[in-house]
């Protein structure tokens, strides 16, 4: 049964992919990519990758589409018709595709228990995580503790992305605050936004602090948090949103998140452990692990949320 659902979802994904390539209206393409993300999140759920599915749900359904729409608004809705013949690109794509398919021949078969992914560290993570870290969600313990260095790198990459967007787009620290009469007419929108805004923030906090137990964690929570503020900005205007959470504050927060993460690492060094070795943070090693994971997830959440908002502000405050 699950295999059948898998196949159907993969087929629908393929159809959507081809339609995205064929379609000329870029806003239509944006809608199709959001459908693509919905379908792939269902696929991740079927594959039991709950944390990935939650990430896809948070990013694909909300923020990615909003940012693409903002880009279309800054540029144009119509795809340019290429003037060159598509022969050479087609050849390049075919050659690359053939090379990639040739590469998969060496890969282990689907579900092969002897595949390298199942043999080296994965076993010990699954086996030792309940004893060493005591967090029910193994994904969180791998991401935040065993692979804490990688995650610190990822957060730094996200921070760098915000710095890049700021350098390229820049933004006025205060957007034009046009309290247009048009908003006041859209009663349904304003009421819904008012109702949903606190709920979204509450759910973001739940994802943030429940990440040890269920799917979720700082990355997903940060994106959901930012989506809440984007909804607020869409309904009440960018200026109002910037009064609620100013751009200068966002810049400080984006850096603060990375610093919290790194500070946890330094603190564990000062207490006599290695960098990001959480078990020295408290008297009980397991309590130390919990504290460390909670703190670094908090840092991740703060950075991700502020970076997403910085990028959104950067896109929409730019004059056309």
């Amino acid at each position: 049964m699950e295999n059948l659902i898998n196949d159907v979802l993969l087929g629908l994904l393929m159809i959507t992919g081809f339609a995205i390539v064929r379609m000329k209206s870029l806003l239509g393409v944006t809608m199709l990519t959001s459908i693509y993300s919905l379908l792939s999140a269902s696929l991740f759920v079927v594959l039991d990758a709950v944390d990935v599915a939650l990430t896809e749900a948070a990013i694909g359904a909300g923020i990615a589409t909003v940012l693409m729409v903002a880009t279309v608004a800054l540029t144009t809705d119509e795809e340019k018709v290429p003037r060159h013949t598509p022969l050479l690109p087609l050849l390049v794509v075919m050659a690359t595709g053939a090379a990639l398919i040739y590469g998969t021949l060496d890969m282990p078969h689907h579900g092969d228990p002897l595949a390298p992914a199942h043999r080296y560290v994965a076993d010990s993570y699954l086996h030792d995580s309940p004893v060493e870290i005591g967090v029910p969600n193994v994904v969180t313990s791998v991401l935040a503790s065993y692979r804490g260095y990688d995650t610190l790198g990822e957060v730094t990459v996200i921070f760098t992305a915000a710095a890049g967007v700021l350098a390229l787009l820049g933004y006025r620290t205060r957007g034009r605050n046009i309290e247009a009469a048009g908003i006041r007419k859209q009663v349904v929108l304003r009421v819904i936004a008012k109702l949903f805004f606190p709920l979204i923030l509450l759910f973001a906090l739940y994802v943030q602090f429940h990440g040890d137990y269920g799917p979720g964690g700082g990355f997903q929570a940060g994106v959901i948090f930012a989506t809440g503020f984007i909804l607020y900005a869409l309904a009440f205007g960018l200026g109002t949103a910037q009064r609620l959470i100013p751009s200068q504050l966002l810049r400080i927060l984006a850096a603060a998140g990375v610093l919290i993460y790194a500070a946890v690492g330094l603190e564990s060094m000062l207490l006599g452990g290695k960098f990001l070795e959480y078990r020295v943070l408290a008297d009980d090693p397991i309590a130390g692990q919990h504290l460390g994971i909670l703190l670094i997830e908090l840092g991740v959440g703060i950075t991700v949320a502020s970076v997403m908002l910085i990028i959104y502000y950067g896109f929409v405050s730019r004059r056309h």
Binding site: I35, A180, I224
Partner: protein, 95 residues
């Protein structure tokens, strides 16, 4: 039971996808994407109970809460009545 429900949902998603691809207007596509969003919420919930892991409902909840934000953004940009398509994405509602 689960099999019947999930196949009906998959068929409905496929039908919605046809509308999203064929269009012809942007509103058809927006509606289709919205409908597929709702169906995905149902699908994820069904899968959660089918595999005995009700914590999948978290994912369904995320979709319920934030999937309409992107629809809102598209409708803010696409505003042919006002004669301009780009300026209203500023989120300041200059219609």
């Amino acid at each position: 039971m689960f099999i019947a429900v999930s196949s009906v949902i998959l068929i409905a998603i496929a039908v919605g996808l046809v509308r999203a691809i064929r269009g012809p207007s942007l509103y058809d596509r927006v509606l289709a994407a919205n409908m597929i969003g709702t169906l995905t919420v149902l699908m994820v919930a069904i899968l959660g109970f089918m595999t005995g892991r009700p914590e999948f409902l978290d994912i369904a909840l995320v979709y319920v809460l934030i999937s309409f934000v992107s629809t809102l953004a598209v409708l803010r940009v696409h505003n042919p009545g006002a004669g301009t398509t780009a300026s209203s994405v500023k989120g300041s509602g200059e219609q």
